[in-house]
């Protein structure tokens, strides 16, 4: 409790710092003799958001890192966040940026969202080293910044599964050049990412780690149209916890027992051993998006795929369509989104009859762990954004969520696969400087 209070105080201080900076530095024009950027600048953002669902059994989370799902009571855990960003520019080719973020859903534990050094190698080529924003999908680089999103948040069906990877530790090299009426850009990136993964029933916490990430994002920009394609592979995506360790020990023991029964079962034993760390895989993230903003309109279409080389983990396809139209300070919007996970085969453990009950228990444990990562759902929502003052926005949003597998169940005794059809209401006050 004391720790949480201390975090709230720190977050409050950070927010105050942002407000102070706003009053001191807001809109201060560059000195007349300054031709290039030089010196430090402080930016901040905050969202005070509350959301509630209508199903006491089924909860929703912003990302796998959120500690407590939001059920049928008003909660600030889904959207409330505060962040500060410090920039230093040399006036030449060098820039340093550090951004800290604290979300209510993680008890305001401060997180270093960005921390990189940027070097402009040439007018059209830049290198960044350090912690950079995630380039996996269209919105992953601003996932914590409510003000920067027309809506309260990017659709849960498309983004919940990816939001926890909001930054990469590594480097990127970006290149941009004009081609006729287009600006064509390429971003090559590499690195790794880690996060704490809370299962939907809050039964366990896993340490998720995506290693050896390599990817490319291509963009084409022409005034009001932006097309983006990104392809990212993590050669080793792993999830570790005490429960996984126990499962591994059980698999090794089972494999040993199979060998003891007969040397003819060697291949079966090897297969059982290969099931250790069942959630580990080579993960590939692909996103194709088009954002079009003709006069006062904003249209966004995105298709994404998360594929795994483990057949029982399967491939997750998702898409979103967003439409908004600004009329003065008021922007009504609507969206539809869907995520589906398809498994090419279910995992099965075939053992001699004497070991079947033991194997069945292990198999059930693995299948439960796999189901905990399945967020198949579809959403349909409407909302309105009101930019009632400079750098402030108020949003109201209502959506219908149909979850094929409830993300969280209030009563552990009733845990089972079932479809949940519920509504989610949100109100958010966004600020940025």
């Amino acid at each position: 409790m004391a720790l949480r209070c201390a975090r709230v105080v720190i977050v409050g201080a950070l927010f105050s710092l942002g407000i102070t900076a706003r009053s001191d530095a807001s809109d201060t024009p560059a000195p007349p003799d300054e031709a290039t950027r030089r010196g430090a600048a402080l930016h901040g953002f905050a969202t005070l958001g509350a959301a509630r669902g209508t199903d006491e059994r089924s909860g929703v989370v912003h990302s796998f890192s959120q500690k407590r799902p939001t059920f049928d009571r008003w909660s600030v855990d889904l959207d409330t966040v505060v962040g500060g960003q410090l920039e230093w520019r040399s006036g030449g080719a060098h820039t340093l940026i550090v951004q800290g973020v604290a979300r209510a859903g993680t008890d305001f534990e401060p997180d270093l969202a960005l921390a990189f050094w940027r070097f402009q190698l040439a007018p059209q080529v830049a290198l960044r080293l350090g912690r950079i924003a995630s380039p996996l999908f269209y919105d992953t680089d601003i996932i914590n910044v409510g003000y920067a999103n027309t809506m309260v948040r990017s659709p849960l069906a498309t983004y919940t599964k990816i939001n926890a990877i909001d930054h990469l530790d590594g480097a990127d090299l970006s290149f941009m050049t004009p081609v006729r009426r287009w600006l064509i850009g390429a971003q090559l990136f590499a690195g790794q990412a880690t996060y704490d993964h809370y299962t939907w029933d809050n039964a366990s916490v896993l340490r998720a780690r995506a290693d050896d990430i390599r990817g490319i994002a291509l963009t084409a920009v022409s005034n009001d149209l932006k097309i983006r394609l990104s392809h990212t592979a993590s050669e080793r995506f792993s999830m570790r916890s005490r429960d996984i360790e126990r499962l591994n020990e059980a698999l090794v023991a089972l494999a040993g027992n199979v060998r003891m029964l007969s040397s003819a079962h060697e291949r079966q034993a090897e297969y059982i051993e290969s099931l250790q760390n069942p959630l580990d895989s080579r993960a590939v993230y692909t996103s194709l998006s088009a954002a079009w903003s003709p006069h006062r309109w904003h249209l966004l279409a995105e298709w994404t795929r998360l594929s795994s080389d483990r057949p029982w983990v399967g491939n997750t396809d998702a898409w979103q369509l967003v439409m908004a139209r600004a009329t003065g300070e008021v922007t009504p919007y609507g969206f539809v989104s869907r995520q589906t996970t398809r498994r090419s085969s279910s995992m099965s453990i075939n053992v001699p009859a004497a070991l079947a009950p033991y194997a069945a228990t292990i198999q059930a444990t693995i299948e439960r762990d796999i189901e905990r990562t399945d967020l198949s759902m579809r959403t349909l929502g409407v909302g309105v954004r009101w930019d009632f003052a400079k750098n402030w926005a108020l949003k109201l949003q209502a959506e219908r969520l149909v979850q094929d597998v409830p993300l969280a169940l209030a009563d552990p005794a009733t845990q089972s696969r079932s479809r949940s059809n519920s509504a989610l209401f949100s109100i958010a006050l966004d600020w940025m400087h």
Binding site: A30, A148, M176, P178, N223, D387, N391
Partner: protein, 141 residues
């Protein structure tokens, strides 16, 4: 009589609309090799960090302060986006760490002075305020 009143009313609205519309000159440093430029290219130069002139030279865009009427009109004519939409746009750029909005100058005289003094610079002023220190590369109606 009824039709005449409507016609006069429509004409009055049209006159008012024309009187309010400002022609905005997009200006550049006089050494800029670009003679004229499309609206799409101008938008790219202002909206995309580290964009470059056709030909590859570094571009340094200048902006008026947020809240300035001319700035709102400029982006409205250039992109069709309102001031709140532009703030949302820049929030994405700033907080994703992918760039920074253009440098700000305090007034149109300062804009003329900065663009005239800075190689690669681009800015905007009301057409009637243009002087011979800068090069006009486009007019936004």
């Amino acid at each position: 009589m009824y039709r005449l009143r409507h016609t006069m009313l429509a004409a009055w609205f049209l006159l008012c609309a024309n009187a309010r519309a400002t022609e905005i000159a997009v200006i550049a440093h006089p050494d800029t090799s670009v003679a004229s430029i499309s609206v799409t290219t101008i938008a790219n130069l202002f909206l995309v960090s580290n964009a470059s002139w056709p030909g590859g030279a570094v571009v340094i865009p200048y902006d008026l302060p947020d809240g300035s009427t001319l700035r709102s009109e400029f982006y409205e004519k250039l992109t069709g986006r309102s001031a709140p939409q532009m703030r949302l746009y820049w929030a994405r750029i700033i907080f994703s760490g992918s760039g920074a909005p253009p440098l700000q100058v305090e007034s149109t005289p300062a804009m003329l002075q900065r663009v005239a003094a800075t190689r690669g610079a681009i800015g905007y002023v009301p057409r009637e305020q243009v002087d011979n220190r800068v090069k006009v590369i486009a007019i936004l109606h």
